[in-house]
């Protein structure tokens, strides 16, 4: 399909080019320490969150202004989520969960800016986020509960004959968690951005451009929703996993 269009209208599709990691200065090789567009957009993400949560609350007024209201809203939203899902003893880990939520939310939304680089569309980034959660939760589970943490896989409410089978399924699903956790986020981000790019490329054809622009607008609206929902899903799943570590015996 793409090759046809290209030959007819000089149309070129590069839907995945927006995800290419490139050095900020020069065109040299990308070493592990090279400042790249990843660095830039991670820095922007951190800066935007700091602007909201630190500068926005600088005055610390009892009757909040607009920015302070948003900061308090974000705080209250995540705080309540952790409290509701993980329980009161999960609140100890609230700062890290808040970090995760704000990071993913802002990285997602910054990625929606034209010409932006979406850090959360990369499996390398989301896999680290997910593995950090997985390892932290697993270690926490064993530290807090000792070997009885393994009881989580041994479903006592099921008939004895079924328990080994269920245990196997539970173990597999437990280890699949970080995979689904990371691929869900990166996949959603990548897909949405790529589709917007494909629609945008069609706008080069005069006949199709109104439809293409409509498509871009519609996808953009959907993406705004997806950006928030994916940040929310990632965070709430983290809370659920944390609850498993804190209270393995449901």
């Amino acid at each position: 399909m793409a090759t046809e269009q290209a030959s007819e209208g000089g149309l070129v599709f590069h839907p995945m080019d927006q995800f290419i990691v490139s050095p900020l200065f020069g065109d040299g090789a990308v070493h592990w320490y090279t400042p790249t567009n990843v660095t830039l957009w991670l820095a922007l993400t951190v800066a935007a969150i700091a602007a909201l949560l630190v500068l926005g609350t600088k005055q610390g007024r009892v009757v909040p202004g607009k920015t302070q209201s948003i900061a308090e809203l974000a705080y209250g939203f995540v705080y309540k989520m952790v409290e509701d899902v993980s329980g009161r003893d999960g609140l100890k880990y609230f700062p890290y969960i808040m970090t995760l939520f704000m990071f993913i939310l802002f990285a997602n939304f910054l990625g929606l800016l034209p010409m932006a680089f979406t850090t959360t569309s990369h499996i390398a980034v989301t896999a680290i986020l997910a593995m950090a959660v997985f390892l932290a939760v697993t270690i926490l589970g064993f530290v807090l509960n000792g070997a009885s943490f393994l009881g989580m896989f041994w479903v006592k409410s099921a008939p004895l004959a079924l328990r080994p089978v269920l245990a196997l399924i539970e173990v597999i699903s437990y280890f699949v968690r970080p995979v689904s956790h990371s691929i869900r986020l990166a996949g959603n981000m990548t897909a949405g951005h790529a589709v917007i790019k494909v629609f945008a490329a069609f706008a080069g054809l005069a006949a199709l451009s109104p439809l293409a622009i409509l498509g871009v607008v519609a996808m953009y609206g959907l993406e705004i929703l997806v950006c928030f929902i994916q940040a929310y899903v990632f965070t709430i799943l983290t809370c659920v996993y944390l609850k498993d570590a804190l209270h393995p015996h449901h």
Binding site: H14, Y33, L42, A124, G192
Partner: protein, 190 residues
């Protein structure tokens, strides 16, 4: 939510198709996400970014927001307590007012009763005095009426004697005064 995830999964599929076709034309190296050479770079900067973010949030932002929220909560509690106290005060003031009102009413009733009694005493005295005066006046009048009446009877006797004497003289039979007087007296008694 499940619906959007599903929709997003669908778009991911079509995007993958587009990539597959596009790569043939533009000879790109497939998904940049799977460029493993770039992984260390991304991971390195991500860890730094997350570390910085966690530091900022846990040291500055979150304690600050927590203290703002606690301040507000405390302020609200204080205000509610103050309002409660003011309400109690107002209630106290109202009971005091009601008491003062009742007292004043009782006092005024007492004053009215007193005044009424005083007036009654004075009135009674005045009435008694007036009665006595009236009685005195009546007695005096009685007395003067009797005097007048007595006087009148004497006068009538004299006039009757004079008149009778004159009448007798007019008939031309002169009469003794003593006889006329006896005759008149006999008549008057009869």
């Amino acid at each position: 939510m499940a619906e959007t995830t599903h929709a997003a999964a669908g778009t991911a599929h079509s995007a993958a198709d587009a990539v597959a076709h596009g790569s043939a034309a533009t000879q790109s190296a497939g998904m940049p996400q799977l460029e493993f050479a770039h992984f260390p770079n991304q991971i390195f900067w991500l860890v730094i970014a997350l570390g910085a973010l966690y530091y900022i949030l846990s040291r500055v932002a979150l304690p600050r927001i927590a203290s703002i929220l606690a301040d507000r909560q405390g302020r609200i509690m204080d205000d509610i307590a103050a309002a409660e106290q003011l309400k109690l005060k107002a209630e106290e003031a109202e009971t005091a007012y009601q008491k003062a009102l009742a007292d004043a009413r009782a006092e005024s009733n007492r004053i009215i009763a007193e005044a009424r009694a005083e007036v009654q005493v004075e009135l009674d005295a005045a009435i008694a005095k007036a009665d006595a005066e009236i009685a005195a006046k009546a007695a005096e009048s009685e007395r003067s009426i009797n005097e007048i009446r007595a006087g009148a009877i004497d006068s009538i006797e004299a006039v009757a004697k004079d008149t009778a004497g004159a009448i007798v003289a007019a008939f031309g039979t002169g009469a003794d005064d003593a006889v006329v007087a006896d005759a008149v007296n006999a008549r008057l008694k009869g």
